[in-house]
Amino acid sequence: MLRILLIDDTEKKVGRLKAALVEAGFEVIEESGLTIDLPARVETVRPDVVLIDTESPGRDVMEQVVLVSRDRPRPIVMFTDEHDPSVMRRAIQAGVSAYIVEGIHAARLQPILDVAMARFESDQALKAQLHARDQQLAERKRIELAKGLLMKMKECNEEQAYTLMRRQAMSKQQKLIQVAEQIIAMSDLLG
């Protein structure tokens, strides 16, 4: 059973979404108001999906969403009455996986949540790939830098410098990047 953390930000709406969710067969943990510490609640409740029901998502809501997506990424679905496209754009940027304007029907909830979760997974995979790519580029730059320093120190060519660095790394059971960092640190020290 999917576990849903449901956040209602206004008194008058309490119960409106919960009834629909329970009817559709979800486990619902409800919180009223957005004065709570959302990231901390996500950490304790460990929901499969965070559902935010808000009349109009203001700055405070967005702030909480940004924190959750950064620290404890979960699929977030936002139900709202706010039609303004710029608000919707801000919500998506903040990390909302699905933004649904009006109309909550029990029958439509499952497909909406499915789409939100699929979307969330593919975003996460993309982020991981981008992160790996950034790290590769950063490592490559450091290795190039170290290679340049070594070429100067040893008056050798590029291939010889790589081979020296690799032999050093392998004989110490280290990765090439570790030896590159040591060379850079040593060069800093020697000025």
């Binding site: 991981a128 790939q129 490559r140 081979t163 690799r166 392998m170 004989s171 110490k172 059971q173 990765k175």
Partner: protein
């Protein structure tokens, strides 16, 4: 033959050969012949092609197979026979289309007997044959995977000495790094395994090497870089980049004795083989002793590169394992040997990658070899070859499979 490499149509639209996936999980087993994969991942051979390789050590071949099929591993250091068994649906999983991206090595596996057999004077093949046929106790031999290369070397060698591997001895599966423990506990009398675990058993005084795999077939195919066919089809640029990185690493290792030496040091690390340098380095350099006082420099030692000859995924290499599956009853009918090998061996992709980084490639898709029993294998008549052996299990129900 499928001459058009499966490709992502978007790659052509974008005119890009950039990898579709940048971060890959690569499985390996703690064996000396995983060297090229470990060196590629740790020594900066993959970044220039836009890849990060995350090494994932596995504790058994069955576990590695399951993760490869589920996609938890993108590619892995694999037994030739493992890839073909999954492709043909033999063993614990249903059939999944598989791919061999490149060969990782030739040679360097060993058949060893226990110190107890040595004390009883069983130190020669003929003595083993007499012991097996005259003694009441049935000996137990371990290999590493029911359809793996070690099972096939063990069966082939035993049969070449007149010992039927399925009838005359018991055969069990033990993960490579656990061979020594099973030997010490007296659960097995002999075993076929990759280095450094043969050399390690000798170092510990627990056994001796009766035959090397290269004495069965000089320069035989062994480990491959394997993945699912779906992975190659969805990520052709990534697959090509991966082959370039691993091939460049294999070339680097064999460039000099110093590089081989440093490679042995790296492999002995806890994260990789976690074994003493003494057990790894000599045989990695081709220096053998058999634990009976004989020393030699092997003319067919572990080859990770050999100017690309160790890496080209010859169709005949893949077909050979299928002929042995057939011979031992793991396959009840003849597959279309050539057609299956053409599906699995990614020859076109390999040649693209190899020529892009200046590694020589043979234009032949088959190679000719002579094995220990004098038979010649060149891929030309797999159906006849599978039936050409005096000892076999062709007519049997898949008894061998039941033993897995």
């Amino acid at each position: 033959m499928n001459n058009t490499p499966p490709s992502n149509p978007l790659a052509w639209v974008n005119g890009s050969d950039a990898p579709e996936k940048h971060s890959l999980n690569i499985g390996f087993m703690a064996l000396s012949d995983c060297a090229s994969v470990v060196v590629a991942a740790t020594q900066g051979f993959a970044q220039p092609y836009g890849l990060s390789l995350n090494l994932k050590r596995q504790s058994s071949w069955a576990g590695l197979r399951d993760k490869l099929v589920s996609g938890e591993l993108d590619a892995a250091h694999s037994l030739y026979g493992l890839i073909y068994a999954v492709h043909l649906g033999i063993g614990g999983t249903g059939a999944t289309d598989m791919a061999v991206l490149m060969g990782l090595n030739q040679n360097a596996q060993g058949i060893n007997l226990s110190a107890a057999l040595q004390r009883q004077g069983v130190t020669r093949p003929e003595a083993l044959e007499r012991f097996v046929h005259q003694s009441r106790t049935k000996l137990t031999f371990a290999q590493t995977f029911p359809t793996g290369t070690h099972a096939m070397w063990l069966y082939y060698w035993l049969a070449s000495q007149g010992i039927h591997p399925l009838n005359d001895v018991n055969s069990v599966v033990v993960p490579p790094a656990q061979m020594l423990a099973h030997l010490q506990a007296g659960r097995i009398d002999g075993f076929c395994v990759g280095e450094p675990w043969s050399a390690d058993a000798l170092e510990q005084g627990q056994g001796f090497t009766l035959a090397t795999s290269q004495s069965i077939w000089p320069d035989h195919p062994e480990k491959v870089l394997g993945c699912t066919r779906a992975f190659v089809e969805q990520n052709p640029n990534t697959a090509r980049a991966l082959v370039k990185a691993v091939l460049a690493a294999s070339r680097f290792i064999e460039q000099s004795a110093e590089n081989r030496h440093s490679t042995a040091q790296l492999l002995s690390g806890k994260a990789y083989l976690d074994a003493p340098l003494n057990s790894i380095e000599p045989r990695l350099l081709g220096d053998y002793h058999d634990g009976l006082g004989n020393h030699w420099h092997d003319p067919h030692p572990l080859r990770l590169y050999d100017q690309g000859r160790a890496n080209l995924p010859y169709l005949s290499d893949g077909m050979w394992f299928m002929t042995q599956f057939r011979r031992w009853g793991l396959l009840r009918e003849d597959p279309d040997y050539l057609a299956v090998a053409r599906q699995v061996q990614q020859l076109a992709l390999y040649r693209d990658a190899a020529s892009a980084i200046g590694v020589p490639c043979s234009e032949h898709n088959m190679r000719r070899s002579q094995l220990i029993d004098g038979t010649v294998w060149d891929g030309s008549d797999p159906v006849g070859y599978a039936r050409s052996f005096a000892l076999h299990a062709l007519a049997e129900t898949p008894a061998a499979r039941a033993r897995c």
